[in-house]
């Protein structure tokens, strides 16, 4: 067993877990944040993507212990029903989800992608390439791509307006 402490969605938390516990296990089973999902065993589907120290990672391919001392943000931490993140809002607006299972990872990857490229700097080809690590079986990706592009452009507008 090992003691793991981290800031999870802005809150300091610690837990005693087996060393083999994955970060997603700590998030879901210990902390009860079930918005992060597990869809495969080989790090390909991306349903489990969270942000660790501001960067998208696959929480099924990281030990909880590796995240000791980190800042971790899950889908629950980016916005709430009454205060949606622009990417969350865009997924709804553009019907970027159907069954909702891949959605947590899609949204977390989308936010990361916009962070890295800069809001407003994403075109369809880039978005499709950037989604290499996120699999969706329902939407055929078209509306996910639309949602991310729209959120990226909207966030650029917001940033401009703030200046």
């Amino acid at each position: 067993m090992t003691k793991v402490s981290m800031v999870l969605n802005g809150k300091s938390v610690s837990a005693d877990v087996e060393d083999r516990t994955l970060l997603v296990g700590l998030i879901r089973d210990v902390r009860g944040l079930t918005g992060t999902h597990v869809g495969c065993d080989t790090s390909q589907c991306g349903a489990c993507v969270v942000h660790v120290n501001g960067k998208a990672v696959k929480s099924c391919t990281m030990l909880a212990a590796q995240a000791d001392g980190s800042e971790v943000v899950t889908l629950e931490g980016v916005g709430s029903a009454n205060n949606l993140h622009p990417v969350q809002a865009a997924f709804r607006e553009h019907h970027g989800l159907q069954c909702g299972f891949c959605t947590p990872g899609m949204i977390m990857s989308a936010i990361d992608m916009i962070n890295r490229h800069g809001a407003g700097n994403l075109d369809e080809k880039t978005i499709r390439h950037e989604l290499e690590g996120n699999i969706c079986r329902c939407t055929g990706y078209q509306n996910i791509v639309k949602a991310i592009k729209s959120a990226s452009d909207q966030m650029a507008g917001m940033a401009q307006a703030a200046e």
């Binding site: 065993d41 391919t61 000791d68 950037e130 290499e132 690590g133």
Partner: protein, 266 residues
């Protein structure tokens, strides 16, 4: 995943020490290959020694005309580093094409080369660029370092600390990914060193991991152009064959990727 014991090393020396003491220890870089393997119960190390928080093993700095990259440096850091981009654009582009964005945020160069997956990208860059692998014990030329599929010259308590890449006049990488896993089915790194010497290294296709294409090197040495390699292919008998691509198909891909890498290198 079987039970294991996690250690976070504070220094390279401590990492080596922890590794030496462990029953069946393994260095944990980003874990992007090791952890999935452990989850499938195909590996069961007694101890994991996390080296990613060791300051001396992270980061990129100039090293003569080339660069030195700490073993715990992530693919994302290599891909976006301005030194790498300007001195060795082929290396930056290779790093930017490993796995997917989330994998690149965790996966490290040290982890990749120590595992020496035959479909990993980095080994081709190390061999083509003539890089040197620096461990806690010694320095090894990359061709001495990679000894076969999933095999390296590393001893049990030896830890990769950094990789030193000499400068190059030209470098480029082109890969054809496995459609499912997106690992390389054939990845070709072409480089023309500061001294003008040409090296071509192939990953993903060989039965024994990374290998050099001497015929292509000779052809490019006298005529640096895509046309120079268009008629040269490896012997299919030495190549991998699986449901995604026969050896003959991989041999063709090596030629095509070599052409594209040369064209990209300019």
């Amino acid at each position: 995943m079987y039970e294991t014991t996690y250690h976070r090393a504070g220094s390279a020396a401590e990492a080596a020490d922890l590794l030496a003491k462990a029953d069946d220890g393994k260095i944990l870089g980003g874990g992007q290959t090791l952890l999935p393997t452990m989850k499938q119960r195909l590996a069961a190390p007694s101890d994991l020694v996390d080296v990613t928080q060791i300051a001396e093993m992270k980061g990129i700095c100039a090293d003569g005309e080339g660069v030195a990259i700490g073993a715990a440096t992530t693919h994302a850091e290599v891909a976006s580093n301005h030194l790498v981009k300007s001195k060795l654009p082929g290396l930056a582009s290779l790093a930017g094409g490993i796995g997917d964005p989330a994998v690149r945020h965790m996966g490290t160069i040290g982890g990749s080369i120590a595992n020496n997956d035959p479909a990993a990208d980095y080994p081709s860059a190390l061999v083509a660029l003539g890089a040197t692998v620096v461990t806690n014990k010694r320095e090894l030329s990359s061709e001495d370092f990679f000894t076969g599929m999933f095999e390296t010259a590393l001893e049990e308590d030896e830890v990769v600390q950094s990789v030193k890449f000499p400068g190059a006049q030209k470098s480029a990488y082109a890969k054809y990914p496995n459609p499912a896993s997106r690992y390389a089915m054939a990845g070709v790194f072409v480089a023309q060193g500061s001294d003008g010497a040409v090296k071509v290294a192939v990953t993903g296709a060989g039965q024994d991991g990374v290998f050099r294409m001497n015929d292509m090197e000779a052809a490019l040495g006298s005529n640096w152009s895509a046309d120079a390699v268009s008629g040269i292919a490896p012997n299919a008998d030495d190549l991998l064959s699986d449901l995604h691509g026969s050896a003959a198909y991989r041999a063709n891909l090596v030629t095509v990727m070599a052409k594209r890498a040369v064209a990209a290198a300019g």
